[in-house]
């Protein structure tokens, strides 16, 4: 088995009094694609956002590439509480890429600059090298022809593929996908999912929060079903999606089968 890239232990997250994540344990090995499914409000997105510290976890230990992030300072609900310094988080984020539901490309930069930006500003790469790496990654998602366009000229699906190239260019250890097809027109969903499948086939390590169960079934190495801030059921796509054991999982999946054809 390949090495563990990311290990999460007893992750808790509160928003005020609202206990959104209630102790999540998981690990991801190099080259794995893990899909997380569950209804809205189950905590999938929050979980993802805690991994790259877009949200600061209330408690729990994150180990990235064998290194624990932060300084342990106390305990909450039996889980360790950590204190994080901003520069440490900045460093972690260069190793953990993220693609968002709303793409969030930088509208004032051309496509190529969007992909190069992190290379030049964060990794201090020289410009020529950054340009060639950016172009290689744009090529990978099939959008090299759009390199000199502004994002506003691209379709949603194209913008999302640029966002994937932007995350890829940083050569992170793992990429987080946060419902990346949820705000796309139906006809462009496919191209984004295909790009993601290609990445998965190339052994990119990925955690994918998605409602595209077909994608999860065909691409995931492991599927996690989240319910009320806990991992309710986990296993291979066949186990979780075809033969779910827990009632909650069955109930969730039933909602999708009504219109199956």
């Amino acid at each position: 088995m390949s090495e563990i890239i990311l290990k999460v232990e007893s992750l808790h997250k509160y928003f005020g009094d609202h206990h959104v994540l209630r102790g999540i344990d998981m690990e991801v090995r190099r080259g794995q694609t893990v899909c997380m499914i569950g209804s809205s409000g189950s905590g999938k997105s929050t979980f993802l956002r805690c991994i790259n510290f877009m949200e600061i976890p209330s408690a729990g230990r994150l180990t990235i590439h064998g290194q624990v992030v932060g300084q342990e300072t106390g305990e909450l609900e039996g889980a360790p509480v950590y204190d994080y310094r901003e520069n440490e988080l900045v460093r972690v984020r260069t190793k953990v890429g993220m693609v968002f539901q709303q793409f969030n490309l930088f509208p004032h930069m051309k496509v190529q600059q969007n992909v190069m930006e992190g290379l030049v500003t964060v990794l201090k790469m020289d410009k020529e090298e950054a340009v060639s790496r950016a172009r290689a990654n744009l090529d990978k998602v099939g959008l090299l022809v759009k390199a000199d366009q502004y994002p506003s000229r691209l379709s949603g699906g194209e913008q999302q593929r640029v966002a994937i190239a932007r995350a890829l260019a940083m050569e992170p250890n793992v990429i987080l996908f946060d419902e990346v097809t949820s705000s796309l027109d139906p006809e462009t969903v496919g191209e984004v999912l295909l790009s993601m499948r290609d990445l998965s086939n190339e052994s990119m390590t990925m955690i994918v929060v998605t409602h595209e169960l077909g994608f999860a079934y065909h691409v995931a190495d492991e599927v996690l079903f989240l319910y009320e801030g806990l991992i309710h059921e986990r296993g291979s796509p066949d186990e979780v999606l075809k033969n779910p054991q827990a009632e909650r999982t069955k109930g969730f999946l039933a909602g999708f089968t009504d219109f199956y054809f």
């Binding site: 968002f100 969030n104 004032h108 500003t121 502004y150 932007r166 995350a167």
Partner: protein, 226 residues
Amino acid sequence: MDEFRWDFSVVFEYQANLYRGLGVTFELSIIIILASMVGGIIIGAGRYSKNRLFNWPATAYIELFRNTPVLIQIVWFYYAFPVLIGIQMEGFYAALIGIGLNMIAYSADIVRGGIQSIEKGQWEAAKAIGMNYFSVMRRVILPQALRRMIPPFTSRTVEAVKATSLASTIAVAELLYEGQVLANTVYRPFELYTAIAVLYFFATYPLVLFSYWLERRLAIDSEMRL
């Protein structure tokens, strides 16, 4: 009853006085506009900051100057402030400080509003590729926010040029004051005030045109509306 006859010859006869006044108006305006750009960014950053050490003083400053009449600020800096610090203050400087501090307060709020108008997703996307706070601001937020600040900042700039006319109340020899003096000397107030209005218009309208040009120039994409 005699019919009133417009006679603009006095305006041309004394045009040197009006231009001299216009020169002082320009001087005040330019210094105030430059100060409000620099000061606006500094105070605006403080206003935007979550750190109370910066946020509270910036907020207090902005609200104090926005919620009191600029005329009172000018008069206060002319009469009261010198008493407080024990030195005489020329009218020109009192007007500069009064109008300048007022304009900085408005600019600061424009800066804060501009930064705040940028979607949260832009922050997140930039942070997600490992940018620190400073880089996010410099590379992603400010370039977009500055474009959005141009229209409101232009309005304030035009307001500031016109507000310099208030300096006439403390005998600063700017355009309005020179005109008033002439009007009282040659008894041609209608013609002189008309001429002054025209001169103010020609002083401010180019600013508006410049801002339109700048907006077009900085538009991300010619077909994209800001």
